[in-house]
């Protein structure tokens, strides 16, 4: 129980309209892993991610984060598992970059002096400090996504969950976000990325979980899973398709 940072035992989730989101999912996630959660639209990726952060609770089954039952320890779970949403625009709460990053710590009633110190440190780490007084709405797509990451990082999570982190980003924006994610993983964070475009991150991943119809269909290393991607509606990376193996997206 203590070796894995997340343990999921047979969870099921059905929405209010009767749609089945997750069916009997059991999986364990170890500290420091880089996991891609792949599958076509409607396969249950987002629903699964929201369970990790306690935004959705399972109808049956149980999720343990660092050995604590998520449904009974929501605040602790949300401090341990940070979630970066697909649309950064709708995730941003503060009216300046600084306030946006400080939001989570203010919710935790951290002292103001400590908030200022931590926020400054995170903004410097992510190279956003020069934008601290800017309105988030004036930032580029990549900067907004980095700001969303900063807002999570400041709460010191051990696991960071990304829902389609590269959607609507241009090439420089994608590079910015991808580099940040790789650095986070190298600094010891556990990364879980839900995407239907695996090419960008597959080389960095230690594991791929394939989802379909709310179920986990395959779970393994990228080398084992890559050939099966297209049977689940996910595009196989070009390099692998042309027999060149898995090539890193970042040069």
């Amino acid at each position: 129980m203590t070796k894995n940072i997340i343990d999921i035992n047979a969870i099921c989730h059905t929405f209010a309209d009767g749609y089945i989101g997750l069916k009997n999912i059991s999986v364990s996630i170890s500290k420091g892993e880089f996991i891609i959660l792949a599958g076509k639209n409607g396969s249950g990726k987002t629903t699964f991610l929201r369970h990790l952060n306690g935004l959705l609770l399972p109808d049956s089954g149980v999720i343990f984060v660092k050995g604590l039952d998520v449904s009974k320890h929501l605040v602790q779970t949300r401090k341990t598992v940070g979630m970066v949403f697909q649309d950064a625009d709708t995730q941003i709460v503060g009216d300046t970059v600084f306030d946006e990053v400080a939001f989570g710590l203010e919710n935790l009633k951290v002292k103001r002096a400590e908030i200022n110190k931590k926020v400054t440190l995170i903004l410097e780490d992510l190279n956003l400090f020069h934008l601290k007084d800017r309105s988030p709405s004036t930032l580029s797509g990549g900067e907004k996504r980095k700001l969303a990451i900063a807002g999570i990082l400041v709460m010191d999570p051990e696991v960071i969950v990304f829902d389609e982190p590269f959607s609507n980003l241009d090439y420089p924006g994608t590079i910015q976000v991808l580099s940040t994610i790789i650095d986070l993983n190298r600094s010891g964070h556990t990364i879980i990325i839900a995407t239907h475009d695996v090419e960008t991150v597959i080389c960095e991943a230690t594991r791929i979980i394939m989802m379909e119809d709310g179920q986990i269909k395959k779970d393994g290393t990228p080398d084992c899973i890559v050939k099966h991607l297209e049977s689940f509606g996910v595009r196989q990376p070009c390099s692998s398709k042309f027999g060149m193996g898995l090539q890193p997206w970042l040069s």
């Binding site: 709708t90 709460v93 009216d95 989570g104 951290v110 200022n116 709405s137 807002g151």
Partner: protein, 237 residues
């Protein structure tokens, strides 16, 4: 220098001066206008650009002036179609419009020298002693409105452009055009609000939050005393 003042002091100064404008006469109004011009110059704000940004408000003031000039009884200067413009009406209309104009400029000076987040903090601070008002929740709502406005405007532009791309602008009925714009926009706004709630929850949102921080510059007393003297002068002049 106004940028560095504590927002609570600026808030009180603005309220005090605006209230004293209610009884200011023409000479006092001109005097205050000069004071405002001085501060606009000092803060580096372009008065002409500011006037341009409130051109529709100035048009509204013109209507107030015209309505007063026509409605107030007194010595008739000239008349047409049964309506007479009176001397008292012109004076009164000018004074009322001028007062509104000065209050507007005061507000603009305040908003352009204050960060929106500071306004939110000040509102929270002023509401704290008011019973039955959840001041922290009000502050978060102000903050959300400020940060959501650009998102809603962006979505409105996207919906409008998507409709234009399909010749939606050929529809001449303004009511139908508004309905076609408003319904998808409302749907998008509610969806965005749903996502925002989730994003806030995922970051442990709670009403019991860290209080805002104020950084006084040390010149607040001097400025506040100055605004009291100015307000008294405006009333007495």
């Amino acid at each position: 220098m106004l940028h560095l003042l504590d927002v609570r002091c600026k808030f009180l100064m603005m309220c005090l001066v605006s209230m004293s404008m209610l009884s200011a006469q023409v000479f006092a109004c001109f005097f205050y206008f000069l004071v405002l011009l001085f501060f606009f110059k000092k803060t580096g704000l372009n008065i002409f650009a500011t006037l341009n940004s409130i051109k529709y408000f100035i048009l509204f003031l013109f209507f107030i002036f015209a309505a007063r000039a026509l409605a107030l009884k007194g010595d008739s200067l000239f008349s047409f179609y049964g309506l007479s413009v009176t001397k008292q009406g012109l004076n009164d209309g000018f004074l009322v419009a001028f007062r509104f104009f000065l209050v507007m400029l005061t507000g603009l000076l305040f908003s352009s020298t204050t960060k929106p987040s500071s306004v939110k903090s000040a509102v929270q601070w002023f509401l704290k002693p008011v019973p039955f008002v959840p001041e922290k929740r009000v502050a978060v709502m102000i903050s959300l409105s400020l940060s959501f406005m650009p998102v809603i405007l962006k979505q409105a532009k996207e919906v409008s452009e998507a409709q234009k791309a399909r010749c939606g602008d050929l529809q001449k009925n303004p009511i139908k055009r508004i309905i076609r714009l408003v319904l998808p926009l409302l749907k998008k706004t509610f969806l965005s609000a749903d996502y925002l709630v989730l994003a806030m929850e995922s970051r442990c949102y709670s009403d019991d939050r860290t209080d805002p921080e104020f950084t006084p510059s040390g010149k607040e007393f001097f400025f506040f005393a100055g605004s009291v003297v100015l307000s008294l002068s405006l009333v007495c002049l």
